[in-house]
Structure formats: C-alpha cells, structure tokens
C-alpha cells in the first residue's frame, strides 16, 4: 500500500472524485496556475495538467466570489471543491456560508441541495494573527454546515471523498503543519503524518470518530495537530502509570458523541485539547455534552487545554506559548488524579 502525506492523500481523493464524477471541479486562488504551488499547500499540484483549467479553476483574489461561485454551482447541480488559501479568509465569505449555503436546503424545504466542499488550512505557523487561527468552532455553531478535520492521510482521503459525495456543504479544516507539503512549501515544525493510503476507492464516513490509543484512566479528545500533542502526552503519562485513551473526533459536526460518551463512562475523566481560543471553542461543547450525559460517570472535573483568549502571536516564542503543548496536556491530566 502506498504511503502518502496528507497533501498527497487529498490530491489523490480529488483526482479520484474528479475522474469518477464529471460534476466535481476545484476552484480557488492559484490552484492550477503553471509554475505555481498547486494552491498554497500543494494539494492541487499537477491536477490542472490532467483535468485542464476549466475543472481546476483559478479565481480572482476574492473569497466572496469563490464562495458565491461554489454555492451557485452546487445549486445548479455541480459538486465544487473550493480552496481557501488560509482558513482565516473564511470570514470574508461568512454571509455566503452562514446565510446561504447553510440555510438554503432548509429554506427551500429540501428542494435545493448544496453539495459543496470548502477546504480551509488552519493552525498557527509563524504567519501572524490573520493566517493562524483555528476556526472550526465558528462553523460548528451554524446548523446546516458539516465540519470535518482529518489528522491522518488515510482520513484525509476518505473524508474528502465522503464530503464530495455529501449533499450538504462540508467544511474541511486541514492543519498546515500536518500537510507534509514538500519543496518550497515545507513547513517548519511540521508533524507530517505519512500514512498508508489505499489506492482503491474508500470513504471515511462523516460523523465517526476513532480511538487512536486505548486507555482506561482518562479520555483525551483532540483533533488535528493537537491529536499528536495528545498522543505524545499519553506516552509520557503511560510512564507515570496513567493510561490515557486518545480520541480523534475526525468530524466535529456531526460529532461522534457516542464514542466519547462510552470512553468517558469507562475512564471517568475527560480532557479536551484544541488549538482554538478557549472560550466557546468546540471543546466547550464537548465538555457541556459530557457534563450533561456522562455526569454520573465523571470522577473529576472536565478539563480543556486550549490557546489563551488572545490572537495567535507572530513571534515564534510567543506562538510556542500560545499553542497547547504536550506538557500542558500532561499537566491537565495529572491535575485530575
């Protein structure tokens, strides 16, 4: 089975879906220009050579136009995969996403569907406050949008293919430090989870989380880059005799509540790790859900490890403080014992 980075796995998913279904096309800034990177992080690199510039569509620098074109074409029966260079720019298309894409199916009584995918790179990577946010939580709050966050190459391919085939607008959040992008787009401090990715067609169902490491003493829920921090922390904790169960939710909307619930019922302790700012992050929702439904099984308060409520700093030293570290996860877990 070939091994791929997440960027390669996403490219593979796009390629397979575009071959499978002529309605599928990509749009975004600099995703297919000759001599370009293939989007900001190489995901669409080389695809214009196979599919041409009509299906790998380079757009003007206007996020509102990208969103409008994606939604409009989806209404018209196409299956667009839109690329936003940095997730932070999603705010430019907020009306299109929150008022149009999320609500048209509901408002039309199901007459319209919006089968669009919006791919958004996120995460603090020494690019300053406007190119560094982790934005998943904003979109989990809008009914009608699905929110996906793959942390492995296998999931990246399977979830993107599932998203393309979904009749609802799906936002895929991809972490810049997990892409495994190469060449000029190599990221400093990247984790690059290279993983086995089947060549054949498969999907990872939207709404299914996965246990990345089984344990009995504490449940750690973490997504994207934080998953790797959590796994590192679990290793340290194991040396101290604490067996942490690490859950990758993979999808935030819909959330695999049952998986987390069963784990918390087993362990009695829950720590949620997210790179977003603490207040009203998606972790707050998981905490509230578990306080509600797993209350009688909890043996300690629920803890969240998140970035402080400040913009992501530009200075690398401050950014290191900002992004939750393995040590913070370890400390949070140890405070529960």
């Amino acid at each position: 089975m070939p091994k791929m980075s997440i960027a390669e796995a996403l490219r593979e998913a796009i390629r397979e879906e575009m071959r499978r279904d002529p309605r599928v096309f990509c749009l975004g800034e600099d995703i297919g220009v000759e001599g370009g990177f293939g989007g900001a992080f190489t995901v669409t690199l080389g695809l214009s050579q196979e599919f041409g510039h009509e299906r790998i569509l380079d757009t003007p620098i206007s996020e509102a136009a990208i969103a409008g074109l994606a939604i409009g074409s989806a209404i018209a029966g196409m299956r667009p995969i839109a690329d936003v260079q940095y997730g932070d720019f999603l705010f430019c298309m907020m009306d299109q996403l929150a008022n149009q894409a999320a609500k048209l199916r509901y408002m039309s009584g199901g007459t319209l569907t919006i089968p669009m995918v919006m791919r958004a790179p996120i995460g603090a990577t020494a690019r300053g406050a406007q190119h560094a946010q982790s934005l998943e939580a904003f979109f989990t709050h809008v009914p009608g949008l699905k929110v996906v966050a793959p942390a492995t190459a296998y999931d990246a391919k399977g979830l993107l293919k599932a998203a393309v085939r979904d009749d609802n607008p799906v936002l895929i959040f991809e972490h810049k430090l997990l892409y495994g992008s190469k060449g000029a787009r190599t990221e400093k401090g990247a984790v690059s989870p290279i993983g086995e990715v089947p060549e054949e067609d498969y999907i990872v169902p939207i709404g299914e989380g996965i246990i990345r490491r089984p344990g009995k003493d504490v449940t750690i829920v973490a997504n994207l880059l934080m998953l790797y921090r959590a796994l590192g922390a679990a290793e340290t904790l194991a040396q101290r005799g604490i067996e942490a169960e690490v859950i990758d939710p993979r999808t935030l909307v819909p959330l695999d509540k049952q998986l987390i619930l069963e784990s918390v019922q087993k362990t009695g302790r829950l720590v949620i790790v997210e790179e977003d700012n603490l207040t009203n992050g998606w972790g707050a929702e998981v905490a509230a859900l578990m306080a509600d439904e797993a209350f009688a099984w909890l043996d300690a308060p629920i803890k969240r490890v998140a970035a402080p409520d400040v913009p992501p700093p530009f200075a690398p030293v401050l950014e290191r403080e900002y992004v939750p570290s393995e040590q913070r996860v370890v400390d949070a877990v140890c405070s529960l014992f």
Partner: protein
C-alpha cells in the same frame, strides 16, 4: 474508636517541632510501633511511632509545618471505623495536608462517579477518605473502602506469627476455602509454594544508584553545613608520646574487678580532657556569635559511627566521673545509639566533643566544630615508632591529636596551650593528680 495523633514532647527546650514528613499516606494501614511520621527537633530528626493500629485517616499538619507539642496532627481510624462512618465531612482533608477551604467543610465533596458507586454498594460517603483533586472523594476512594471491606480474611494468631516469621505478606494469603479462617496449615502451604528468590543482577544500563537522604543524614548534613558556614575553624596538630598512657592502661586492666567495664583510650582521654578543660574554660563553652557562655560542668560529646550515620551522645559532668563511671556511661550510650533508642536529650547540651578515629587506622585529621561548642579534639591511632626519647632512639607509642577551635571565639595561642596541657597529661599521666 479513632485515635488522635498528637505531636509528642520530644524536646525539653522547644514548644513546637517541625513535622518533616508523613511516613504513611492517608488511607494506608499502620500498625502500632511502625514509623508514622518524622519530626525535627533542634537536635535531630526523629521517627515517631504510631500510637495505635488502624488506617491513617487524616492529617492535619503538612510537611514543613511547625506544630505545638501536644497539638493534634492527625487521626488513625481503627479497624471497623470506616464502616461505622464516624468521620464528619469536616475531617476530610486535602492530600497536601492543608485544611480545606471553609466552603468545603460542611458538606461531602465527592465526584459523581464516586457517589454513583458508593450508592450502588451501600457505602456511606462520609466514611471515606478523599484523595481526589481538590479534596474530592473519587472512585478509587470508594473502591479502596470496598477492598478493605471485602478483603481481609481472618487469620489465626499462630498463622499470623508463622507468616510474619517467614516474611510472607499476610494480606496475600488465602484461606483453604472462601470465608474460612487462614490457618497455620494454609501459611505453611504458602511457604512451601514460595518460589526461590532469583538473584538480582545489576542492571547494565544503570551504573550506580541514587539514595534519598535519611532524616538522620539530613540532620548531619544540615548541622555540618551550618558549622562549616558559621564557624572560623582552625586545626592544631600535635604528635604525642602515649607510651606512659598505654602502660597505665595495661596496669588498670590488670586490676579490674569482675563486672567492671573495660576502660578504652577514649575513656582515658575523656578523663584527661575534662580535667584540662577546667583550666581552659573558654574551650568548655557555648558561643552564639556574640557571647561566650562558660560552663562549669564538662558535658563531653562523643562522636559515634553507626549504620544510620553519625551520632554524638553526651556524657554529662564528665569532670566529676571516675574512669569506670566514664566507661560505663560511654558503653551505655553506645548501646542506645546502636539500638536506635537514643533520645534528643541524650545528645543535647554538649560543651566539648571528642572524636576518635584511631581504631580505624587514622593518624591525623581535621575535625569539625559542633556549634555552639567552641572546640573539638580529634584523636588518631596509637602506633609504635622509632623516636628520640631521653636522647636515645627507642620504640615509643605515638599518637596525633588534632584540636579544631572556632577562631571567632578563641585565639590560636590559648588553643595551643590547651593542646599542650592535654599532651603533657597524656605523656605523663601522673599529672592528673597534681
């Protein structure tokens, strides 16, 4: 009945003692006589035995806290207490020994999981230890109580004795059938089934090892560092001809009555030094940096080496005691040190210290002053050497004396005069009576 743990009156000079550490954790079983906690007096670290058997239920003083003598510092729950549920919520304390904030004291704080389990098992939450975060009763506390309830099959007294003699863990034994008493036969069977201990091979990765300091070692470290940092030590060395002294001792030993203690060179030297000190009162004194307190009596500290470290018990009024009394007192103190029965009072208020490394083959060394004392005499081995005696080379029994004094309190010349006096008396012991 719960047993209150009180701070014992281990010092006659201090109203309060420092709690160094708890040797047991909350919830741990403890038997009478087992070390329960360690306190520090002005003299030493002391291990304090448990006043009774049961489970350490709560601690009211944290390590490092200074506690008045007689104050309650904890509670031992006796067997059966837990189920009775006599503990009030106010007695639940935090793991770090700090008292709970007031809002925690009037209700039981338990995790939802612990409540659910306790309810299902019919255990009163108020009877439980709280080991969780923020002084909360958590699942493991309920499970520990369940474990205590369920485990502990009864064992006959003889079976317990046999097991303990064989070094078997009594709690790991099982009766021949569930619910039955553990009998001597069960224990003997367990002894037979014990696997032979495998030899412990040193690990390749770990060369060397790390040793946490014992309370005794910590006290030694602290006091010697204090001595080193506060005193201005100077050591005078002098060779002494001890031939006469050895001859005197031979004659003394020959005349001993049955039952008399055998005087050692140390005893002879105590006697000599005590006598000399009366003529050099500045060396039989306490010095606090501002005042020299001259002492009438000579309380002779004796450095003694033990497996647990250095102890310095004190022979009081050494200047009044005859040689046999000194030998008797020294023997008794040595025995009490070896037994670990020595008390802080027996090690307090020394006015001068004698340290003899001669038996270990040392010729000369630099002793370190034991504050607030002013001086200490180190004694080396006695050995035969060719020496000039009465203008002839002959074989003489020679030893070195090393007198360390605190130069802040006294000067070199007076110290040299003291050393000279001691040397004269060793060389001509009949001067003792002049």
């Amino acid at each position: 009945m719960a047993i209150d743990i009180l701070m014992p009156p281990l010092s006659q000079t201090m109203d309060s003692l420092v709690l160094v550490e708890w040797s047991k954790k909350i919830g741990e079983p403890v038997v009478r006589g087992e070390t329960l906690f360690v306190v520090e007096t002005d003299k030493a670290m002391l291990e304090v035995e448990s006043p009774g058997a049961g489970t350490l239920r709560e601690t009211l003083a944290a390590p490092g806290a200074e506690v008045k003598i007689g104050a309650k510092i904890g509670v031992i729950a006796e067997p059966g207490d837990e189920a009775v549920g006599a503990t009030s919520a106010a007695q639940i304390s935090r793991r770090d020994g700090q008292p709970l904030p007031p809002e925690r004291q009037h209700r039981v704080f338990a995790s939802p999981r612990a409540r659910r389990l306790a309810e299902a098992e019919g255990i009163a939450l108020s009877s439980l230890n709280a080991s969780g975060p923020q002084g909360m009763i958590v699942e493991r506390d309920v499970r520990a109580a369940l474990e205590r309830q369920r485990a502990q099959p009864k064992i006959t007294p003889v079976a317990r004795r046999v097991a303990e003699a064989a070094g078997l863990d009594v709690t790991a034994l099982t009766p021949s059938e569930p619910g039955a008493l553990i009998t001597r036969e069960d224990v003997e069977k367990a002894i037979q089934q014990q696997p032979l201990a495998e030899p412990v091979l040193p690990s390749r990765q770990q060369a060397g090892s790390r040793i946490a300091l014992s309370p005794v070692r910590k006290t030694i470290a602290r006091r010697l560092q204090a001595s080193h940092q506060t005193t201005a030590p100077v050591t005078l060395n002098r060779e002494v001809d001890a031939t006469e002294l050895t001859a005197l001792r031979e004659r003394l030993l020959a005349d001993l009555q049955p039952g008399d203690p055998r005087p050692t060179y140390t005893d002879l030297l105590i006697s000599i030094v005590a006598r000399c000190l009366r003529r050099h009162p500045r060396f039989n004194a306490h010095f606090d940096g501002d005042t020299i307190e001259l002492r009438d009596e000579v309380n002779m500290g004796l450095a003694m080496d033990t497996e647990r470290g250095l102890f310095v018990p004190v022979i009081r009024d050494a200047q009044r005691k005859g040689l046999l009394d000194l030998a008797r007192a020294r023997t008794q103190l040595a025995q009490r040190v070896a037994d670990g029965a020595i008390t802080p009072d027996e090690m307090s208020d020394g006015t001068f210290t004698l340290t003899n490394l001669g038996a270990l083959g040392v010729d000369s060394f630099t002793p370190i002053v034991n504050p607030p004392q002013v001086a200490i005499l180190g004694v080396g081995r006695i050995r035969p050497v060719p020496a000039v005696y009465q203008n002839q080379v002959s074989i003489r029994q020679v030893m070195f004396l090393s007198l360390t004094f605190d130069h802040r309190a006294v000067d070199g010349a007076p110290a040299a005069r003291l050393l000279n006096d001691i040397a004269q008396m060793i060389e001509k012991p009949h001067r003792m009576w002049l």
